[in-house]
Structures are given as C-alpha cells and as structure tokens.
C-alpha cells in the first residue's frame, strides 16, 4: 500500500529537500534493506512489514516539513522499531511469542536513541533472499515474496504483473508468511552444506522474475519491462551481497545482455522481431558493455557455471555488429559445454539451432528429430517452431507448415502466436507454389495471396 500512497502525494511546494518522487525512489531502493533489518530485529515477518510501512508513512509526513534526516535509513529503521514497540504494547492479546519479541526489542533499545539513529544500518538482505527463496515455499510464493520483500512491490503490483486477482495474490503472500512462521523457515544464511543448493534456488527465482518479463508466457505483451527491471535489480542485489560468486555475476550479465536487446525485439506495431532481423543500433550498448565486463569476470573465476555460460552465449550475439558476423562455432561450443554441465532437452534444442547455423540446417534438424523421437519436448512450442524454421530454410515447405501448425496449437503468448501464424501462412503459400499442397477451403485467402505473389513474380 505504501508505494501507492507515496505515489499519490502531491509535490510539497517550497520543499525541494525531499520531494515525494525522491522519497518514492528512496522507498524503492531501501525497502528491502529496511525490512531485512527489521525482521532481524523483530524476528517476525509480518510485524516487520507493518512497522516498515508505518515508518515510511511517517517519513512522508515529517520529512517535507522537518527536512530529510542526516541518516535517512537509520531514521526509518529507528522509527519502525518504535512503531513496532507501540504496536506490540497496544495489542492487548499479546501471545507468548510477541511478548518475547517486545522484551528483546525494549532491552535492545536501552541504548540512547540518538546513537542508534546515526549508526550505519547493516545489510541483512542476503538472509531475506534465502528466506524468500526457501525451497519449502511454493515456487510462485517464492517469486511473490521476493518481489514484495526485496523490491518493495505492493501486493497489487505483483498481482498485476502476474495477471492474477489482487485477493489471490494477497492470499498467496499470507499463506507463505504463515508457513515461514509456523514451520520456522530460518532467517539465516544457510550452512555450508546447504548453501550451494539454496543459492541456486535463489538465482532460479531471480531468473524466473526476469524471464516472466522477457519471454512473457501469457497474454498480449511481448515484454514486460517492469519485471525485467525487477529481475535485474534482484540480480544486482545478489551480486552486491556475494561479489565473489561467479554465478551471481553470470546471472546478472545474462539478464543485462538479454535486456539490452529489448527495444529491438519489439516492432513499432508490437510484433516480435527475431534476433537476426533486429536493428542492432537499437540495442542498449551501454548495458551490453556492462554485461560483457561481468561475463569476463564470471569466466575468469574458475570453471564456468550454467549462468556464466549462457551469459557468454548472449555475449557472442551482442558482439556481432551484423547477424552474419555471429560466431556460431563459438556458440555451438558453448552450448556443447552447457549440455555437459547441465543436460536438458531445452539446452539440446538450443544446441541443435547453433549447430544448424554453424554447420547447416540439415545437421541441426537431425538433432531436433532425435529429440522429437524421444518425445520429451512434444508440448514445447519452441521445439516445433525451431524444427519448422530449419525445414523452412531447407525449402521443405509442406513439412515446415505442419510443424508451424503444431507450434501454433501449443503457444499461449499472443505476439508469438501471431508470428507463428505469419510464418505458417508463408510456408503454406510456398508449399502451394511448389505444387505440394492442395489448398483446402480454410486456406483460401492464403492460397490467393500465394497466387498473387506468383503472378507478381511471373510479371
């Protein structure tokens, strides 16, 4: 709620000290850190969240009037702690747990308040990441909690981002927080034996947020820039908190390099533009530079993990000024390596595409056909789309059309569907031209188009 609240407050005249937009920026940037610190102090997620909201609301009232405090972060945390104490005292039905919290918090604040207000606020967000991304929580709850707690998004904003009703999202968050409390999901950096697995889980959540924005799986938009930005923000937080981790570095690089192509990936009419057809001048070259630097440092620190390798692949694309200059042999080698360290049918599909570009569509198609024979990707529209594309490049139009049709039946994002429909229409028309397919009634308009084109090319 607080963000919406902050957004609605008009700019206080004569108070350039802390304009609401600056406060909103501060809220966005620091909410996660404030909440993490408060959870540490209070040992209670809900109480910390309520107190943080109240403190930011108090800032909204006081800062324009009294000026921004010297240490705003410490001010917020100190105020929130007082709000929490008030709240605990007000609550007549103190249960045992809250009574214990109150005792600890009051003991802790025996130190003079002024001293506290000036002390640096420790960064506790790493603990919070591991709590939010705990594998004992449902995947969608992990994503929602991370966006709420670390990015400061409101329940309404998260609900909108994932196209679910706000009430359903609120339920999801309530349930997740209840499980954290009841099952006592720790608020701690995992022990060494659990750390690699938990770190991987956290990165998967961050990449999921980014990908939901970048490769929108449902609905009308091609890209949800807001979700991409939040994914990158989470990636930056993780990178900042564990700078020595090559995979955290690789993950951030991967997201930056993908996101750098965002503007070129959607045409003016909202249609999807394939990598090879993109106007590379529209790429964000500043962001690419940052991504490339991160890839370098991720690859320097020992054997590359899956995110670093995927980032390296994105880097090869990013470095080609023209599609024809793409080093496909390098990409093929990187995918081959990726298959070794993280075998999966989807990686194999990408490898097949790289092979097709490096060594001709026939070689790539062979790999896709062997994938298809195993039936693992039968429901994956991109497998059928990739197969169709290679058949198209080989001029096998009728088979390409069949494959596009299967892909179309499986796709759920609107722009991708339109793209595949265009490709299907084209393949069908070409098949007709080749006299391989008799148009049926439903294909009439497309056959007409093919007829017109044939006449045009004849003329």
């Amino acid at each position: 709620m607080a963000l919406g609240l902050l957004g609605e407050i008009p700019c206080a005249p004569g108070n350039p000290n802390m304009a609401p937009s600056a406060l909103e920026q501060f809220y966005r940037a620091e909410f996660g850190r404030v909440l993490a610190t408060l959870i540490r102090l209070l040992g209670d997620f809900d109480l910390a969240e309520e107190a943080a909201q109240e403190a930011f609301t108090a800032a909204l009232e006081q800062w324009p009037r009294e000026g921004r405090p010297r240490n705003p972060l410490a001010w917020i945390v100190g105020t929130a702690r007082h709000k929490a104490i008030d709240r605990l005292r007000r609550d007549g039905r103190l249960d045992e747990r809250r009574r214990e919290i109150l005792r600890l918090v009051i003991e802790d604040s025996a130190a003079p308040q002024t001293a506290f207000a000036d002390s640096p606020v420790p960064d506790e967000r790493l603990r919070l990441i591991f709590t939010c991304c705990h594998p004992a929580l449902a995947a969608e709850a992990q994503v929602a909690l991370s966006l709420r707690a670390l990015c400061g998004l409101t329940t309404e904003e998260i609900a909108r981002a994932f196209l679910v009703p706000a009430s359903a999202m609120a339920q999801r968050l309530v349930r997740a927080k209840r499980k954290i409390r009841t099952a006592r999901i720790p608020y701690e950096i995992p022990t060494e034996d659990l750390l690699p697995e938990r770190l991987e889980a956290a990165m998967a959540v961050i990449y999921l947020v980014f990908n939901e924005g970048y490769a929108v799986s449902h609905g009308k938009a091609v890209i949800r820039a807001d979700l991409c930005a939040e994914g990158i923000r989470l990636g930056r937080i993780l990178r900042e908190l564990i700078p020595a981790d090559a995979e955290a570095c690789g993950l951030l690089a991967l997201m930056l390099l993908h996101d750098a192509r965002r503007k070129a990936r959607v045409a003016a009419d909202g249609e999807l533009v394939l990598l090879e057809d993109q106007d590379r001048a529209k790429w964000n070259h500043e962001q690419i530079r940052e991504g490339l630097e991160l890839v370098q440092s991720a690859l320097r620190s020992g054997p590359a993990g899956p995110y670093a390798v995927q980032a390296a692949i994105a880097a090869v694309h990013a470095q080609a000024a023209h599609p024809a200059e793409t080093d496909w042999a390098e990409i093929e080698a990187l995918y081959a390596y990726l298959m070794r360290i993280r075998p999966s049918p989807v990686i194999e599909l990408n490898y097949a595409v790289a092979v097709a570009f490096a060594n001709g569509p026939e070689r790539g198609l062979q790999i896709i056909e062997s994938l298809g024979a195993r039936g693992e990707l039968d429901d994956y529209h991109l497998m059928w789309a990739a197969r169709a594309d290679l058949l198209r490049r080989l001029g096998r139009w009728r088979e390409a059309a069949d494959s596009y049709r299967t892909a179309l039946a499986l796709v759920s994002a609107e722009p991708e569907r339109r793209f595949l429909a265009r490709r299907l229409a084209d393949a069908q028309a070409r098949a007709v031209e080749d006299g391989l397919l008799q148009p049926d009634q439903s294909d009439k308009p497309r056959a007409d188009a093919a007829h017109r084109r044939r006449q045009k090319s004849a003329g």
């Binding site: 249960d95 045992e96 705990h134 004992a136 009841t182 099952a183 006592r184 999901i185 720790p186 701690e188 995992p190 022990t191 034996d193 659990l194």
Partner: protein, 115 residues
Amino acid sequence: MQYMLLIYDSEGRKLSPAEQGQLMQDYMTFTQDIVKSGKFKAGDPLEATGTATTVRVRNGKTTATDGPFAETKEQLGGYYIVEAKDLDEAVTIAARIPGARTGSIEVRPIMKMGG
C-alpha cells in the same frame, strides 16, 4: 521447536534378507545418533497398512473400516519426533532417515498448544 518426521515408503517393495538387515542396521545407527545428539523425542516403526483400521463417527454412529483412508503409492511406515531449531535443521535430520533414500519424509511442525 518440535517437528514430526513422517516416513512414507512403498510397502510393496521386496527386500532380500541382506537388504532387510542392512536397513534395520541403518535405522538403528540413525536412531542412536539423534538420541545421542539430544534431538530425539520419540519415534516408532508402524505395522503394515494391512493391519490398519480407519474409524469415523457420523451422526453419532461409529464405523470402523479396513485399511488406511487413502490409497496412495507410498504408505506411512513410521515416524520420529525431533527437536530442531528451525526447518533447515529438521530437513537435515529428515534427510538422514534411511527411508528418505527410497521413499519420502514429510516434515511437519508440531503445534504448540497454549496454556
């Protein structure tokens, strides 16, 4: 904080006498370990579901029927109650139960009753 670790496994799985002996040995080692660590509160194996009876009271009338209430691939075969500081510790203990290697362990926090 106490957690109940419910051990689910397939009763139908056939074990050779040697495997059976090894499994018993593994359970004994595990149990001794957690007893020694002070985390053990309770724990028992259960007789097979063929011996189970399900009881319901509806409109004041008691019915007792054969078997567990649900047909599942894995059956409840035993339990431990352990003391752990948080879920991560409980999960770490659960992962050491021999049954985790073939079946699955459900980790449930035990509700603290007020008063």
